[in-house]
Amino acid sequence: MINNIGIVDARKIIKAINETYNYDFKDYALTTFKHRLIQFINNNNYNNLENFIQDIQKKEIDFEDFIDKILIDTTEMFRTPSFWREIRDKYLPKLASSRDLKIWMPHITSGDGLFTLEIILHELGLTNNVQITASSMSEKKLARIKEGGGYSLKKIEVGEANYKRYAGKFQLANYYTVKNNCAYLDTSLIRNVTFHKSIITQDASSASFKLIIFQNHMIYFNQSLQDKVALKLIDSLVPAGMLALGSGETLEYSSSSNKLILIDKLEKIYKKKIG
């Protein structure tokens, strides 16, 4: 059982992964990355790090499984209900009125945010006015989301409570069915979504999105990767397009913060400057 990993060992592991699989995790936030790494190593019954590193080098770990487990996906549906109310009341009706609203949800992990947005659009009757692009670097995560999530009932319970605080039209239970103790959201909700497998910094950017929702992903990157990702997101927005982050996140320390205006301080909604 591994209880902790020092910085030197963490860097060795990250280097081995990059050399073998060409995925670079060196700019992930260290504390949270180490938590997931330790979990993965222990769940795969490694008793020492040398064996783990050797197996990486020999390509003997299931890498899709590694990507799936290393990405943190423990958010909630309708997390921060006040944010989603704001999106529903203040922004979506105006943005979607022209029938060509393009929204990007990059780097999705659990699909919580995606299904939340889709339920809101459904209740507003706007699903067909909106095209959503959802990308993730994990094939396994994408497959699960396409099947409706398969969320634990405990997680759904949290989502139900959040949905009530959000003050939705019905109940969350209207949107899912339970099979083998897992909740599957109605996949007709995501009929307007194009899914992509991609790494966010390598995504081709075209300035075409009016809204990018990227909540509680930046926190898993260090400042250098946050800067790169912020630039990518800004490049992907139309002028005056909006970027929503998680309530604990900020672009204040980012090198491209001067390209945005913070229009909602509490809910962390930014607008791209024109020109």
Partner: protein, 186 residues
């Protein structure tokens, strides 16, 4: 100063104790003070304001990657874990709750132990569950100072008792003694 940070963990019955402690600290206290208190996740505002009423130090909920400064009190924000990250910055996370709690006292304390080693001071106050026991143990194992509020004085002694059972703490203090300790650090 031999220390780099003070971290205080508390739950049920700790609000008044925390208020008392922070109101005794001067405006330019030479260390940063982290507060990891169990709180209702959907109530985001009001807590900082309530704590600020009697505090001379400024109090805020840090955002992710915010630099840590001495003389400030930082309260773990609702529904996030709060860590100290490389480069003396904060990191937040939405990882699973630990001991039903997000923020988790154990996780915050562990990251403080990892980053500050023997220069960390951890204090566990009144609370109704076992969160914080492993975190305080991590601080002690890293060579830091482990303090618990005297269970006899706690409104709910579960958390402090669990901490005392988990590690050989340095001090079991009443609130006034915690204050004196923090004011007399060298």
């Amino acid at each position: 100063m031999d220390y780099k940070a003070v971290i205080i963990g508390g739950s049920a019955g700790s609000f008044q104790v925390v208020t008392k402690i922070i109101s005794a600290l001067p405006k330019k206290y030479p260390l940063p003070v982290f507060l990891c208190l169990h709180r209702l996740k959907h109530i985001r505002s009001g807590f900082v304001e309530a704590l600020s009423i009697k505090s001379q130090m400024s109090i805020e909920e840090p955002t992710d990657k915010q630099p840590i400064k001495s003389g400030k009190i930082y309260l773990a924000p609702a529904n996030y874990h709060m860590y100290v990250e490389l480069g003396n910055k904060f990191a937040l996370s939405t990882e699973d709750p630990v001991n039903h709690s997000r923020p988790s006292i154990d996780l915050s304390f562990e990251s403080v132990a990892y980053n500050y080693n023997r220069k960390a001071i951890g204090i566990i106050l009144s609370g109704a569950n076992r969160d914080g026991a492993l975190g305080l143990k991590a601080i002690k194992s890293a060579g830091g100072v482990a303090i618990v509020q005297d269970p006899k004085e706690c409104q709910v002694p579960t958390m402090t008792t669990a901490s005392i059972n988990a590690t050989k703490v340095d001090y079991i203090f009443k609130t006034e003694e915690i204050i004196n300790f923090l004011l007399n650090l060298r």
